[in-house]
Amino acid sequence: MEYVSSLTGFRFDGRRPNEMRQIRGEIGVLAKADGSALFEMGNTKVIAAVFGPREVQNKSQQIDNQALVRCEYSMANFSTGDRARKPKGDRNIISYSADHGSKYINTFDASFSGKNLKQIDIFLQVLQADGGTRSACINAATLALADAGIPMRDIVTSCSAGYLCSTPLLDLNYVEDSAGGPDVTVGLLVKMDKMTLLQVIALMPTFFFFCCCICFVLLFV
C-alpha cells in the first residue's frame, strides 16, 4: 500500500511525512486526583491521574532516600471500538508498567525525598486508541505530574516515528502503525537535551535500529 502518495507526498490523512497530528492537552480534569490531565494526539485520547506524593502504603517497599513511583496503565474496553479485545494479560501492560515505573525515578527532583511522603501513583487510561498510545500516555502523565505540582528536573515529552514506503514518518496513526513497518518511540527531556526512552518494535537487521534513530532525530530536531 502507498502510505505516502508518490505524486502528492501526502499521507492518507493529509499530513506530510514530518508532520504531527493535532495535539490538545487539558489539566485538572479530575477533581479528586492531586493532578490530572487529558491528552489527545489526533484521535488518540488518554486520561492521566496522579496521586501523591503520599506515604508509602506498603512499608516493605520503602527504600531510604528514594521515591516509589507506581504506574498503572489500562486501555478502556471501548477504546478500539472493538469489544472482543481483552485488555487483561496484554503484553503491553506489563512492559508499560515496568517502563513507566523506572523511567520517572530519575526525572523527579530529589527535593521531596527528605520527607516521608515518598510514593507517587500514576494512573493512565486510554480512552480512544488510534496509534501512538504510548507517546500519548507519557505526555499525559507529564502534564498530570506538573498539575500535581511534583517537582521534576525536566518535562518528559514523547512521540513515535516509523518507516514506510522508504520514507520516515512522524507520529504514526493506527493505520500506519499496523502496516508492519518498524516503529520507534522516543521520550525526551527537552531542556536537559537527554533521552529517557528509546523503544523500537520491528523485525529487522540490528543496524537498522540506528537508521530508525537517525530518521527520528532528523524528523524531530
Binding site: 505524486l7 502528492t8 501526502f10 493529509g14 499530513r15 493535532q22 522508504s166 496513526n173 537498522f208
Partner: protein, 931 residues
C-alpha cells in the same frame, strides 16, 4: 483545519465496523499554474499558453491511451480522481502515475481532497459517486476563480449528468470526443474509445440479421461468489491452447484437475489469462476429443457452429467438436469439460497485429469499422473503428480491448499506435519487443547525466582507495563469445610455491559507477536485464558503461570486484578472498581461440598454461558438481550467421558448446556460490539469492512416460538419480540424449530470484546446480540482480553502506519479482527473435530435413528439428478430413493408421519438409510436412 471522516465498512470476516479517520485540510497546496501569482512557483507544471483541462474519472479509466498521446497536455489530475481510478483499475492507475511524473507531459496532481477551499463534505443521502462528481466540479470552479477569467479551465467528462450540472454551474465542460475533434487531428480520433452503446448501434446497423446474442450473459458477481462457495462453479485462470485458439484450460483447485473448455461460445468472451468462473457440463457431454492441433485458424468457420442455444437453461451442445475440425464421433472421456459463466478478473491488454484485409468502404475520410487480427493466435479478432483505414491496412498496429458485449461476436477495441510495415524485419523485431514489454526507449537525459565524463581513465582517488587492491601485475585475461563487447568477467590463475593455485574471478565493478537511488540505477532496476535478440542487443545500462568504462577489455586498466580462491591441485577451496581491485587484462580471447590454444600442444606461453591449469581445475570441479547431482540440461539454442549488409540470416545451426565454455561457466558458478555464502552470512534476511525449486513427481511424469515408451527407465527420485539416468540415456541416435535432456528441462520450473527473508533456508536450494545456495554475481553489466548482489557484497565487506532498499522487505520482494518477470520476458523475446529469423531464413530456402517426434496429438504430432532447433506441428490429416483413420494408444505415445502398419511413436525419427506458407495474409508461418 481538521475534518473527521467516518464511515462504516465490512471486514473480510464479514463483521461491520465503524472506521473513524482524521482528515487534515491544508492551506499550503499550490495550484501548479504558471500564471498564478499567489502560489509558490517551484511546483509549476501547467503552462499558461493553452487552456487547462480537468479530467473526470471515467475519462481516465477509458481513455488512458489518448491521455498518453503527446497532444493531450496541460492537465490537472485531481486526487479524488486518482483515488477512484486506483480503486477501480490498478493498471490504469500505474499508467496515470507514470504520466504525472513524466517530465515531457504537463500533468499536475492537485490534492483537492486536502485543500481547504476545495474539500467538499458528503451531503445526507448523497452517493459517494455523486459526491466525487461534485468535488470535481467544485475544484474546477475553484480553479476558474483562482486563476481568473484570463485562463480557460475546461472540464472533460463523458458523464452526461456531470456535464449538464457543470454547465449549469458555469463551468465550461466538454466530452472527450468533442474536445479531440476541436484539436483537429484526425489520427487522435482513433484513440478515443467510443462508449459501448454507440458501437453496438453501429454493429446492429451493419448486420441487422445477427442481432441475436452470440454469448450467454455473464452471471452477476454475487451469484458467482455464492456458486464458488457451494462448489457449483469453479474458479481458475483460463489458458488458451497455443496451437488451437478454440480450446482452453482452466486449472481449478477445487477439482484438482484442469477443466477443458471447447469453442468460443463456451469460453464466453474470456481472454487468455483471465480469471474466470466455470461451470461443469453434464458428464455425457464430456466428449473425449483428444487435444487437437487446430488445422487452420479460419474463424469464419465459427459462424455456423457458434450460436447460443435457443434457451439459456439448456447447455450448448458440443457443436464445435461435432461439426468442427474433427468430425469424429464424440467419445466420453474422463476429463472434465466446462463452460465459462462469468469473468472474475479481466486480463485485457494491448495487442500487436494487423487489420484483416477488407474492401475499402465507399467514401474516404469517414469512420470505418475494421477487424484487427492479433499476432498472438490465442487472442480473438478485435473490432475497431478507424478514420485512417488506408494508412493502417498494411501496417503492424497496436490495439487495446475496451469491451465485449454478449451480442457482438468480436470484442471491440481501439487503435493505439502504428509500429511499421508488415513483414519488415525491424517492424517485426519491434513487435517482439513490445509483446514482451521490453523498454527500448533511448536513455533519458537524467540517466545519461549520471555517467562519468568520457573518456574515462583510472583516477588517482581510485588508486589511493584503501579498499581497492592493485592487481595490475596479475596476468588476467577474459574468454567470451566472439565479438563480445560487454566483457564482464575475467580470470587469472597463478601457481604458488606449495603447489596450490591462486584463482581469481574478476567482475566488472559496475556499482562503482551506478549509485543506488540515481535515475541511472532506477532505470536499470526497471529494465532488469539486457535483452539479446538475434540481430541486436537492448542494453540495461547506457553504451559508454557497457562497452567501455565497465567492459574488462584487453590492455586497459579497469576497476573490478574480485573473488580470489586458494585452491589445491584437487580443486579444493582452501580460502576465499573478496576485494575491489584494479586489473589490466592482457588478452580478450574468444571461446574458439581459447579452445584452440589449449588443444595446440606446441603453445607453451604463460596464458595458455594458465588456461590449461584452469581447465584441469574446472574439470575436477565439474565432476564434483555432477557427483553431487547437478543436472546437465539442454535447450535448443540456435546460432545464426547474419549478413553484415542486409542483416538477413545466412546460415543457421545449433550453438556449439566447447570445453572452454564449460571452463568459464564452472568458475562463474563457483564465484556465485562463494558470494552467495558470504552475503547470506552477513545479511540473513535481506540477501538476493537465486533458487530452483525441486520439480514434483507430477511435473516429471510426462518425461517418464515418454522415456518409458522407448524402453528407457528414468529414476526421478533425486536430482542425482535423474542426472545419472539422463547420462545413461544413450540411443543409436546422436541427438537422442540431447532430446531427452531438452524434454527434461521443459518439465521443470525456472530458477527464480528471491529475497532470503521471504523463505525458509531449506527452500534456498538450487535443484539444477545441486547447490544449497546460489546467486548471480558475475554479469553486472547485463543483469540488475548482479548489481544488487555487488552492493550486498560491498556492504558485507564494509566497503560501502547498504542501500536503504535492502531494508524494505516488501520493496525488495517487489524488485526480485520484477527481475524474474524481466528475465522471463527477455528469454521469450530472444526465442521469438530466433523464430522470426528462422522464418526469414526459410522463406527463400524450403528444406528437407530430419526431425524427432516429441508429442503425439490426435491428428498429427509435434516434431523437433535438432539441426535448426525448431519445434512445430505436423498434420497427418488434411483440413476437414476425417480424423478416424488414426488412433492413438492409451498413454498417448503411439499413433497407428487403421488397417495399415503405419504407426508413429514419440522420439521416432521422421523426415520432414520445411517451407514458409502464408495461409492468411500477414501471418506467414513455417509449415512442416511429412515426406
Amino acid at each position: 483545519m481538521l475534518q473527521s471522516k467516518s464511515f462504516v465498512k465490512k471486514t473480510k470476516q464479514g463483521r461491520v465496523v465503524k472506521v473513524v479517520r482524521e482528515h487534515y485540510l491544508r492551506d499550503d497546496i499550490h495550484c501548479g499554474a504558471e500564471i498564478c501569482k499567489v502560489c509558490q512557483s517551484s511546483s509549476v507544471r501547467l503552462s499558461s499558453s493553452a487552456s487547462i483541462l480537468i479530467i473526470d474519472t471515467n475519462v481516465v479509466l477509458h481513455q488512458i491511451d489518448l491521455l498518453e498521446n503527446p497532444a493531450i497536455n496541460n492537465v490537472i489530475v485531481l486526487s479524488v480522481v486518482l483515488d477512484e481510478v486506483r480503486n477501480r483499475n490498478m493498471s490504469v492507475y500505474n499508467r496515470m502515475k507514470a504520466l504525472c511524473t513524466d517530465a515531457m507531459k504537463n500533468f499536475y496532481v492537485f490534492s483537492n481532497e486536502h485543500h481547504r477551499d476545495t474539500y467538499v463534505k458528503e451531503m445526507v443521502g448523497e452517493s459517494p459517486n455523486d459526491r466525487n462528481d461534485r468535488a470535481i466540479r467544485f475544484a474546477a470552479r475553484w480553479y476558474q476563480s483562482h486563476l481568473g477569467e484570463g485562463t480557460q479551465i475546461l472540464l472533460i467528462t463523458n458523464d452526461r449528468e456531470n456535464k449538464r450540472k457543470a454547465v449549469e454551474e458555469g463551468i465550461s465542460a466538454e466530452t472527450i470526443e468533442s474536445y479531440v475533434r476541436s484539436l483537429q487531428q484526425p489520427n487522435l480520433l482513433d484513440l478515443v474509445v467510443i462508449p459501448t452503446s454507440a458501437v453496438k448501434e453501429e454493429i446492429d446497423d451493419l448486420r441487422p440479421l445477427k442481432r441475436k446474442a452470440f454469448y450467454l450473459e455473464h452471471k452477476p458477481m454475487s451469484e458467482i461468489t455464492s456458486g464458488l462457495l457451494h462448489r457449483i462453479y469453479h474458479q481458475g485462470k483460463l489458458r488458451v491452447n497455443r496451437y488451437n485458439p478454440f480450446e482452453a484450460y482452466v486449472g481449478s483447485e477445487s477439482i484438482g484437475d484442469e477443466i477443458v473448455i471447447y469453442g468460443r461460445v463456451n469460453m464466453n468472451r474470456a481472454f487468455d489469462e483471465d480469471v474466470v468462473a466455470v461451470e461443469l457440463l453434464p458428464k455425457d457431454q464430456w466428449s473425449g476429443v483428444k487435444s487437437f492441433i487446430a488445422v487452420d485458424d479460419d474463424e469464419d468457420e465459427e459462424d455456423d457452429i457458434h450460436m447460443v442455444p435457443s434457451s439459456a437453461d439448456a447447455p450448448p451442445r458440443n457443436t464445435n467438436v461435432a461439426n468442427g475440425h474433427s468430425g469424429s464421433t464424440p467419445i466420453i472421456s474422463d476429463r472434465p469439460v466446462g463452460r465459462v459463466i462469468g469473468i472474475i478478473k479481466r486480463n485485457w491488454d494491448s495487442y500487436c497485429g494487423s487489420l484483416e484485409p477488407m474492401p475499402f468502404p465507399a467514401g474516404n475520410g469517414g469512420a470505418a469499422s475494421a477487424l484487427f487480427v492479433s499476432k498472438d493466435r490465442r487472442i480473438p479478432k478485435i473490432r475497431i473503428l478507424t478514420h485512417q483505414l488506408g494508412n493502417l491496412i498494411d501496417k503492424r498496429i497496436i490495439v487495446t480491448v475496451d469491451s465485449w458485449d454478449c451480442s457482438s461476436k468480436y470484442p471491440s477495441g481501439h487503435y493505439v499506435r502504428t509500429i511499421g510495415e508488415i513483414g519488415d524485419r525491424d517492424t517485426e523485431s519491434e513487435v517482439i519487443l513490445i509483446d514482451n514489454d521490453i523498454n527500448t526507449r533511448p536513455f533519458s537525459v537524467q540517466v545519461l547525466a549520471c555517467l562519468p565524463p568520457l573518456p574515462w581513465s583510472l583516477s588517482v582517488e581510485d588508486m589511493a582507495n584503501p579498499h581497492r587492491e592493485d592487481l595490475r601485475h596479475l596476468r588476467v585475461f577474459s574468454v567470451d563469445p566472439p565479438g563480445c563487447r560487454d566483457i564482464d568477467d575475467a580470470l587469472h590463475c597463478t601457481t604458488s610455491a606449495n603447489g596450490n593455485f591462486e584463482v581469481g574471478v574478476h567482475i566488472a565493478d559496475v556499482t562503482n559507477f551506478v549509485y543506488p537511488g540515481t535515475p541511472l540505477d532506477e532505470e536499470a532496476a526497471q529494465r532488469g536485464t539486457s535483452v539479446y535478440l538475434v540481430e541486436k542487443r537492448i542494453d540495461m545500462l547506457p553504451k559508454p558503461l557497457t562497452e567501455d568504462i565497465c567492459s574488462l577489455r584487453a590492455d586497459v586498466e579497469r576497476l573490478a570486484f574480485s573473488v580470489i580462491w586458494e585452491m589445491t591441485p584437487n580443486a579444493e577451496i582452501i580460502s576465499t578472498k573478496y576485494t575491489k581491485s584494479i586489473i589490466k587484462s592482457c588478452a580478450a580471447l574468444s571461446y574458439i581461440e581459447a579452445q584452440a590454444r589449449m588443444d595446440d600442444s606446441r603453445m607453451v606461453d604463460p596464458v595458455t598454461t594458465d588456461l590449461r591449469n584452469l581447465n584441469s581445475l574446472a574439470k575436477i570441479m565439474r565432476q564434483r558438481r555432477v557427483d553431487r547431482g547437478a543436472l546437465t540440461l539442454a535447450s535448443a539454442e540456435v546460432k545464426f550467421q547474419i549478413d553484415t549488409e542486409t542483416h538477413d540470416p545466412l546460415d543457421i545451426g545449433m550453438y556449439q558448446i566447447r570445453e572452454a565454455n564449460q571452463m568459464i561457466e564452472e568458475f562463474m558458478l563457483a564465484a556465485n556460490v562463494s558470494v552467495a555464502e558470504k552475503i547470506l552470512k552477513h545479511f540473513p534476511l535481506c540477501s538476493l539469492l537465486r533458487r530452483h525449486p525441486t520439480p514434483t513427481k507430477e511435473m516429471l511424469e510426462p518425461l517418464v512416460h515418454t522415456a518409458a515408451s522407448v524402453g528407457l527407465d528414468l529414476d526421478i527420485s533425486t536430482s542425482k538419480a535423474l542426472a545419472d539416468s539422463l547420462d545413461h540415456a544413450v540411443g543409436d541416435d546422436p541427438y537422442f540424449n540431447k532430446l531427452i535432456r531438452i524434454l527434461a528441462t521443459r518439465c521443470m520450473t525456472q530458477a527464480v530470484y528471491f529475497c532470503s527473508g521471504d523463505l525458509a533456508p531449506a527452500e534456498f536450494h538450487h535443484y539444477g546446480l545441486a547447490s544449497p545456495l546460489y546467486t548471480h554475481f558475475t554479469s553486472p553489466i547485463r543483469r540488475y540482480a548482479d548489481v544488487m548482489v555487488h552492493r550486498l557484497l560491498a556492504a558485507a565487506l564494509e566497503i560501502a553502506k547498504l542501500p536503504p532498499v535492502f531494508l524494505d522487505g516488501q520493496r525488495l520482494t517487489q524488485l526480485a519479482d520484477n527481475l524474474n518477470h524481466r528475465h522471463r520476458n527477455a528469454q521469450m523475446a530472444g526465442r521469438a527473435s530466433v523464430e522470426l529469423h528462422t522464418l526469414i531464413y526459410f522463406r527463400k530456402r524450403p528444406t528437407d530435413t530430419e526431425a524427432r517426434i516429441v508429442k503425439i496429438k490426435a491428428n498429427g504430432f509435434i516434431v523437433f528439428v535438432p539441426k535448426f532447433g525448431i519445434e512445430g506441428p505436423v498434420h497427418l490429416t488434411a483440413k476437414g478430413d476425417k480424423q478416424g483413420d488414426w488412433s492413438v494408444d492409451a498413454k498417448g505415445q503411439t499413433m497407428t493408421k487403421a488397417g495399415t502398419n503405419t504407426s508413429y511413436r514419440t522420439l521416432q525419427t521422421v523426415r520432414i519438409h520445411l517451407e514458409v506458407v502464408e495461409p492468411q495474409p500477414h501471418r506467414p508461418k513455417l509449415e512442416l510436412t511429412l515426406i
